[in-house]
Amino acid sequence: MPEVLKAPLVVEFPFTRSLGPVQSAFLTGLRERVVLGVRTGDGRTLVPPVEYDPVTAEEIRDLVEVAPTGTVTTWAWNHAPRRDQPLDTPFAWVLVRLDGADTALLHALDAPGPDAVHTGMRVRIRWAEERTGAITDIACFEPYTGGQAELTGRTGGFEDPVTGIVAPARLDYTYSPGRAQTAYINALAEQRNVGERCPSCRKVYVPPRGACPTCGVATLEQVEVGPHGTVTTFCIVNIKAKNLDIEVPYVYAHIALDGAGLALHGRIGGIPYDEVRMGLRVEPVWTAGARYPDHYRPTGEPDADYDTYRELL
């Protein structure tokens, strides 16, 4: 078996999320170094606060202040912090019941080692220096000896409340395309278009994905197709794409390579955009060292008869 193709794939996105009234008050409060909880109908105080009672689903809006000090209810020692976690030195994950709250908040505890951490220990919030109205405005917790810290007396009504958060997320993958697509990509690098034939319905898939979606069986027989093909349909692109150095307008087309059972797509060049037509015969154009065709250009052959490609539209 040839070596498996692999490439890094980074999926990165900033999620923009709006906040409800309770979440907005809580996160704005953190920015102002005030911790707010929400009172349920049966008199419990939830921290972090939610918009609906987790038991009754009742809408809850009664905000109350709790202290920035509290007690660890469970913990876990993380000797190897991972990217984006609150601290980059070993720390304890903790659930902390803040003084005045009936539920616990998840965060990190900065402690010298696991022997310095236990359930029931007293901790207090260490505030981040730069605060924006996010859970990370709490930098972490730190060990603390003493009773409940004083309250500020504020329960909301902050100036300039935050109404949303932007939560960036990045995940790093290693992409590998699998057997069929690896074979296709490797052949393409040798300027050959190699599809795969379904053993049941005999259709030739280019590019192949390893399975025939009609028959649900593996496509294993390799078939070289092209290099010439027929434009089955096309569109004229008038908007320049970001990071793409192609002058507009240009034509993007479905091209049925000779011998293929379905069309692939590619750009058409070497002909004015307004002269491209269905049935136009084309061939791939390779640039030096490229692993795939740069575009397709007319071969000069007579146009294909509609009946030869009507099933490939």
Binding site: F15, T74, A76, W77, H79, L106, A169, R209, A211, G216
Partner: protein
């Protein structure tokens, strides 16, 4: 509505640390062919198809539509997908069969965890406002639950090690398992959990076929009748929950009829040793119940398929006459957030 529905066939891949040589559909297809072959059915004979998977695992958008190539979904079939473990796809298929719209259903799920950083990927399922920005990984959250159990006196490290050892010893009889035999408990991954307390990370797929009434009897010598199935969820705030208990599992089991008569076998989806402690308590399982004869998720945990595999393993034991009444459990989310329980029975022998 009272329609008898059974699991009539089950198949799974060998679960491996990586399957980089094959795509998702290439991994899935042999399992689909195997499960169909067990019944003699063809794709065209299947009344409803439902799958479970998550694009986040391999970082491939709309990967479930590509996986459909392996089913033979053209011309269009009656089909659905859940972004959940395949056990919940099975639940949807079960309801579809209950309505009478279909007599047979193909349920499959797959997960390729090898392309991505699984512990970090799973943080993206958490509360996006208060929790996900801290990136607490799946092992860390399980470790918080384990410590709560230790503090409550429900378990200790030797007891957890015994769960790990028993699971992987049982898995030596399971040719599909990834981690079997004598596995050292190892160092702390996130204390109090050691590497041995955690599931292997791997790729795999599974499929089952459901059938109703007489159709089930035609397709399988001893169908595994679904006597009840239910799923329930905990409050989403981790700090709101009692992490040492699983009231959602208990409620699902009650609704599924699990407590009406004792079961002889239970396949529990407990990716971490400590979670088996919680589930045994919630399900009131005594020592007479054979728990995870397959080795469970500690031996193979292809995310999105491992729950469906519990149902499949429980059903397969009934098919083979090794069990008469079995409980299957599937979980999803952090610290046993959401739980599904099915009760399966074979006809008297």
């Amino acid at each position: 509505m009272n329609r008898e529905i059974a699991v009539v066939a089950f198949a799974q891949t060998d679960h491996r640390r990586t399957s980089e040589d094959i795509s998702e559909v290439e991994m899935l297809m042999p399992v689909l062919h195997e499960v169909l072959a067990r019944t003699g059915l063809k794709t065209a004979d299947i009344g409803f198809t439902c799958s479970g998977s998550s694009d986040y695992l391999a970082g491939r958008a709309f990967s479930f539509t590509l996986a459909l190539d392996g089913v033979g979904a053209w011309p269009p079939i009656s089909e659905s997908h859940v972004e959940m473990d395949g056990a919940w796809a099975l639940y949807e298929a079960w309801t579809k069969l209950l309505t009478g719209d279909a007599d047979t259903a193909l349920v499959y799920s797959y997960g390729k965890s090898s392309p991505g950083p699984l512990r970090d990927v799973l943080t993206r399922q958490l509360d996006p406002y208060y929790v996900a920005p801290l990136w607490p990984d799946s092992v860390a959250l399980a470790a918080l639950q384990a410590q709560a159990l230790v503090d409550a006196g429900d378990t200790d490290e030797p007891a957890l090690a015994a769960v790990a050892a028993r699971s992987r010893a049982d898995a030596t009889a399971n040719s599909h398992a990834q981690l079997t035999g004598s596995v050292p408990q190892g160092e702390y991954l996130v204390r109090p959990l050691r590497t041995g307390d955690c599931p292997p990370i791997g790729d795999g797929a599974a499929a089952v076929i459901l059938a109703a009434g007489d159709r089930a009897r035609e397709l399988c010598e001893r169908p595994a009748w679904i006597r009840g199935i239910d799923h329930r969820i905990e409050a989403h705030g981790l700090g709101v929950r009692d992490l040492t208990d699983s009231p959602s599992t208990r409620l699902a089991a009650e609704k599924a009829g699990a407590f009406q008569r004792p079961v002889d076998t239970a396949e529990l989806h407990a990716p971490f040793t400590s979670q088996e402690v919680v589930l045994r308590k919630a399900l009131k399982l005594d020592d007479g119940v054979r728990v995870n004869p397959s080795g469970g998720a500690l031996a193979a945990n292809p995310v999105m398929a491992a729950g469906l595999i519990r149902v499949g393993e429980a059903a397969a034991r009934i098919h083979r006459g090794e069990a008469d009444r079995a409980l299957a459990h599937a979980t999803s989310g952090p610290c046993l957030q959401q739980n599904l329980v099915a009760v399966l029975e074979g006809d008297p022998r």
